[in-house]
């Protein structure tokens, strides 16, 4: 597949003097779902944040759609239609669900808001029920739906999901992953997600990477990684579900 959308090349990211990423290479092609799995503190979220330019990579490069975005400010990267559902969801707690979705559509100044919001409500009917409620009063699963919905309102070319299953009941995780699959199949949306929930993430993804201590140690198709004994031992049978 030559249709590369996102390319992370030999990226090193530091927090002060502490190296969080030590030369990471990741590629995401158009129309793919790609996941990055790894344990706590492996650097998965740092990679996500580095793609978004905060913090910026010290060496290496991040290329999106043929354009070097390594040193762009975060909001300009977002304007290239890289939408992110950040770790911890980061919805606006005192704004209503509806207003949260409006904020997502602020790139186009609400031009396509009415048609897009209907799509989000079909994808996540719960959000429609809760539209007048303040974001902070939603349950964790609903907040995650809102966070993804808000990201989708920007009409992204690439959707970045940081731990969408964090702290959610298995049933809700299923619903959310099913919705991601639908988006990918029906609209051809490219998705890059980082997850601790390796089993669900690998089952969903076309391809996957495994990160250990800021370095990518393995990569392959979702099925290959699921079958890989090392991956099974480290991430699938050791208490992670």
């Amino acid at each position: 597949m030559s249709d590369m959308l996102l390319q992370v090349k030999a990226v090193e990211t530091y927090y002060g003097n502490i190296r969080a990423l030590g030369g990471v290479d990741v590629e995401v092609n158009k129309g793919e779902i790609v996941c990055m799995i790894g344990a706590n503190g492996a650097g998965k979220s740092t990679l996500m944040m580095t793609i978004c330019g905060s913090p910026q990579a010290r060496t290496g490069s991040v290329t999106f759609d043929g354009q070097d975005i390594t040193h762009m400010p975060t909001h300009e990267i977002a304007r290239l239609r890289i939408a992110q559902s950040p770790e911890g969801r980061r919805i606006f707690p005192r704004m209503t669900v509806y207003e949260n979705l409006q904020m997502g559509a602020s790139l186009d100044n609400l031009k396509y808001f009415n048609e897009d919001v209907e799509k989000i409500f079909t994808l996540f009917p719960r959000l429609k029920e809760r539209q007048a409620q303040r974001g902070g009063t939603l349950s964790g699963g609903e907040q995650q739906m809102l966070s993804i919905g808000r990201a989708l309102m920007a009409r992204p070319k690439l959707l970045l999901l940081d731990e969408p299953s964090l702290g959610l009941a298995p049933l809700i995780v299923k619903q959310i992953f099913a919705a991601i699959k639908v988006l990918n199949k029906e609209q051809g949306l490219t998705v890059f997600l980082v997850e601790q929930n390796a089993f669900a993430a690998l089952k969903l993804s076309d391809r996957g990477y495994v990160m250990v201590n800021g370095k990518v140690t393995m990569s392959g198709s979702g099925k290959e990684l699921l079958a890989n004994p090392e991956v099974r031992a480290a991430y699938l049978e050791g208490g992670h579900h």
Partner: protein, 520 residues
Amino acid sequence: MANTTSTPVSADSNLTARALREGFYAGLISLGLFVLFVGLKTDQNILNELILVQRWGLLAIFVAVAAVGRFAMVAYIRPFMERQKVTNLVTGLLPDSVATRFFKLPVFIAAAVIGLGLMIFGGTISASISPTAGAYLSLIRGAAVVYTLASVFFYFRAYIVANFSMLAIIALILYPPVILALTGVQGSLKWVDNFGVQILIYVMLAWGLNIVVGLAGLLDLGYVAFYAVGAYSYALLSSYFGLSFWILLPLAGILAAFWGMILGFPVLRLKGDYLAIVTLAFGEIIRLVLINWTEVTKGTFGVSGIPKATLFGIKFDASKDGFAALMGLPMSSAYYKIFLFYLILALALLTAFVSIRLRRMPIGRAWEALREDEIACRSLGINTVTTKLTAFSIGAMFGGFAGSFFAVRQGFVSPESFVFLESAIILAIVVLGGMGSLVGIAVAAAVMIGGTELLREMSLLKQIFGEDFTPELYRMLLFGIAMIVVMVWKPRGFVGSREPTAFLRERKSVSGSFTKEGHG
């Protein structure tokens, strides 16, 4: 209060014992608190020496009030409130069952008649009786007026709540003519200027600061700096270049907005407490520059003789083509004050209008999103730099407008007027009113500023505490008490819930404001 279901007698004696104990402790605490502040006072004697004046009587009154108050609270008021379910949990007001007993039509009519009668004839009556009786008379008048207004509020509460903003604006527009009719031309000065204009200045300042603090969530402790910039812009440019108020009003706003940006740049990366400290320092820098740059600002002497504003070129003076002469009215400064009242009313309404409009526009939504979560904002493509700078500069612009109005009203500006306390008061009003709520802030300003002004009217207190008691000196104490009471009673301010700006179809009947905020 959980185990008071035993025999009523023992419960009663328990309660009395507890009330006595708590009353004693309250007295002890207030004794400790006030012994140095109230019990002793430093003064200068005739030889210019510092002496200690002992005021044990006054101290005893303070302690007694605290002890008896606490005793009554525990022994009678609190059980009574619990029995009656006096306060409604949602509104914090009297429930209808109690209020209908309290607000009765005959009493209302009597109160209205007494209040109105005393307001019209009070001056002539109190002239013919002793000052003590006069003070009591004004107390009765005040009580009657408060009762009348409270009854009106109670009986029309549904209508008033639904149309509060419109009714408030109409009342404010009618306020000067009504006061003129009630108190006469000379008597109106106090009510229009000290109460009306003074409160409206703070309403406007608090609404301006609300853009920065309430909407964008940037804690600004140096807001008075922009007020100062506006005031000095008008004072200096009009006295050096003779420009008129109507040219300088927008100019002062623009200059203040410019300074808002100057402040904004260095603090872009700061948040919360750090931002607060830097803005506080900025406020002090501006004040110190005004004090020390004596060639231009005349330092602590201030700029005096600032020209008055004109109405379409008509001056408010005793000349032949002045306002009074043109209208065929006797010359009085009251007309100028009324003009100023409408001017600041218009400016304040402009502030409110702009904030309401901006909240519905992308920039206003970005401010609110910025207050909620800066990182999420950036990931949605919002430029947080320009968003913060516009919040600072638009907030500062309204501070500048208010400042130039202040200068034209006083006719004199000096750095004295722009101390940190002013910033603190404005911020307190915003917090008390409920951050982001225009109505709440206006109510808070009226209560806090109007309340402190009312203290000057409390000549009755002199009768109780003695001639050298000056109630104005206690206004910051009352300000503090009021803040504590409001924050205990309504932790998010008078109007604590945020009004959404957009709905898809119709409002859901139960919104999130009644449910607890969760972080699940």
